[in-house]
Symmetry: C2
Subunit: 424 residues, 2 copies
């Protein structure tokens, strides 16, 4: 029988775990049946690193991953855009654990390449419908009251290549325009209070210092709610790929509004309808009209193990792992199906469950070697339930690129390989 | 008057903030008095990065910090140990925000240098007073139920160079044997359940695969409580400096027991009294006896801004920031003094407040340019209050190296420079 096993059952399945060891370890490994004497003082073998003194401290003043992890990298899809300077790279979610994305693997999205900004020259102008327009240096900004918060950023095009059909067969490429970090900066509301908003103020334009001068309009209400102007990412300074030395962070909203290399904030009374909110980041609906200002990333989830890059080794007991998130707040529950959505089982959520942050879920699964269809479905704290791709298409058709938050189906074949499929 | 200002007062001090801008920005910066027309479309200047397209995606498949951050690195104190292979490097806390330490800056402590271990060859042996001794591969270990948790690691020698007197004048060197990450792995209790403990089992020996074969004895109770066998650090694989591919994590206890490159776990009925728990990691008390097995890092805190590496620019309004932590659980409160411990004021704690993790605190401070003595004092959820160095010396004398969790005093001089001092 292929299916879930009860939470807590793991510890009662000792013989199954031993089979895991036997199934996965190569011939060089002593199994549990090996003589105790042979294992008295050390595991089998005496590798080199137990015999010679290694490198000293600050051999690498700033560290880097082990050489054996050299395939854990960001990747792009060359056919996706005309040039790499206006493109995206994807986070290797198939190789990551927990909820923090290391800075070196945070996904990239550029409209005119990566701006390499000198923080000493960088300035932030805040002007428009304000009492006291202001130009701030980085030192000025860092003196304001600071906050640190863990939030995801997801490009609304994440999954966009599969609005019409499944074609990628890769977790990295279906879901990797998604990362999560601890951000540190100033509340945008603090800066807006500083310049003093005029009573007509209703909209905010944010602009980057890259060659695209990437800009977007945001309603004032969101800016005063939870937006941050951030300079810190997972403890250290922002990475250049993420807008060093300063970016906007709009928690839970589509990534492009979190403008990088932030150099200007203008206050107005109506949206600007900039290039990026007219020619792009809108969705052509079946009736010929376009949805615009579709900012919120609705609740979404995906199973990260197994996945196409991480096949199932052999029949036996596994922990299915995944990520869930919602642009509206906290994840409330995740259900997992092993039969393509016929039956659903509650997954366990990993603490801490933070608002507009990635949340890990896990569920044990005994695979019997038969074909299976694995899916996850999140419910967020507003009660919103993640839809199927068929449900999304019924409303929005097949034209859109953005905001595909549908349930992902992974097909498990008898040889353990995993495929990206769409049902019905 | 030099002293704290009420929480929430910041927003009412607009003119003070404008003075911040005037005081800190160089002559090139337009102040708030600049004409609005001049600032209509962009901040002053048109730097190069707004004119030319930058590098494309995956220019760096694995990213690195901005060139301008090249001084944010781990550093060592050359006179501290005879060789860099048995030494420590310090995290640059003066440059970090939030609670996550980026993996590249996590402090190092080696007993025989950094072991560069091949994960395909690595094995974990679990034996001794167990029903079924077992050898596990990394693949085996990753199949067990996983958990991710944010915890600090602190070397008990952190602050050890100042048991006798203040001599370092550096936050990095007084407190930088301290880092915090999101760890992912298997509960040690899960593995011990797998091998089956015999009823005489009381102690656990853990051993690394480095040339020191670093080993320590741990009471079984702690192992069954919250210890983890981890392979993930801030989302990605452990760094070699942190024990790649596998380390023990003993939350809240002195760093050296979180044995790196973990290759062996032996169950016994008494401690092993290994080299590292007899010749080292004990404390010579005034009566000539030694304290041993002093595992827990008691509650501690430190102000990270200002600090010797981050002086105060000029009189005005600041946010004082710092870190607090406890090996016994959660931080309950942090008080800050601006006058060397005469008066104390409640700091604000940043969410999330997690058990045995770093916690950020902040408090506003208006500096009037007069000498000041800044201190922070943490209280943890057990009610334990961080002591002064004088209180610690009264009990333990001046011989110890380890477990100096005393209150740090930063002296602010009229020119804004900050010095590491000890009072009374």
């Amino acid at each position: 029988m292929s299916g879930p096993i009860r939470q807590g059952h793991w510890h009662k399945s000792r013989r199954s775990i031993l089979r895991i060891g036997a199934a996965m370890a190569g011939g060089a490994v002593l199994g549990p049946a090996a003589g105790a004497a042979e294992m008295e003082n050390s595991p089998p073998g005496e590798p080199d690193w137990t015999k010679a003194i290694g490198a000293g401290v600050v051999d690498r003043p700033y560290g880097r991953p082990a050489e054996f992890e050299k395939d854990v990298i960001r990747r792009n899809v060359p056919w996706l855009t005309a040039t790499p300077e206006s493109s995206v790279s994807f986070t290797p979610l198939q190789s990551l654990d927990g909820i923090i994305t290391p800075n070196g693997l945070f996904f990239e999205r550029y409209h005119a390449g990566r701006a390499d900004v000198d923080p000493h020259q960088h300035r932030l102008l805040i002007h428009g419908l304000v009492e006291r327009p202001l130009v701030l240096t980085m030192d000025d900004i860092m003196r304001f009251p600071s906050v640190s918060r863990i939030h995801f950023i997801e490009c609304p095009a994440n999954g966009g290549m599969e609005w019409r059909e499944a074609q990628l067969n890769s977790l990295q490429f279906t879901h990797g325009m998604l990362s999560c970090a601890e951000w540190t900066g100033v509340k945008l509301s603090t800066l807006l209070d500083e310049v003093g908003l005029k009573k007509e103020a209703k909209w905010v334009m944010v602009e980057g210092a890259d060659a695209a001068r990437m800009n977007r309009s945001l309603p004032l209400e969101k800016c005063l709610d939870d937006c941050l102007v951030v300079y810190g990412q997972n403890g250290e300074a922002l990475r250049p790929e993420q807008g060093y030395p300063l970016r906007l962070l709009v928690p839970g909203w589509e990534g492009n509004v979190s403008v990088k290399w932030l150099r200007r904030i203008k206050i107005g009374d109506e949206p600007w309808f900039s290039r990026e909110e007219t020619s792009k980041y809108t969705e052509l609906m079946p009736d010929g009209k376009a949805r615009g200002f579709t900012w919120v990333n609705e609740a979404k989830s995906v199973i990260t193990s197994p996945c196409p890059e991480k096949p199932v080794a052999a029949p036996g007991l596994y922990e299915v792992r995944g990520l869930a998130w919602s642009g509206h707040g906290k994840v409330k529950a995740v259900d997992v199906s092993f039969d393509g959505g016929v039956n659903w089982h509650s997954a366990q959520l990993q603490e801490p469950i933070l608002s507009k942050a990635l949340t890990r879920f896990t569920i044990p699964w005994r695979w019997d070697g038969q074909p299976a269809l694995l899916e996850s479905r999140v419910v967020d704290e507003t009660g919103y339930v993640q839809p199927t791709i068929a449900e999304l298409r019924k409303v929005r058709g097949k034209n859109p690129i953005y905001h595909n938050n549908s349930i992902q189906t992974w097909q498990i074949k008898p040889d353990g390989k995993v495929f990206d499929v769409q049902l019905g």
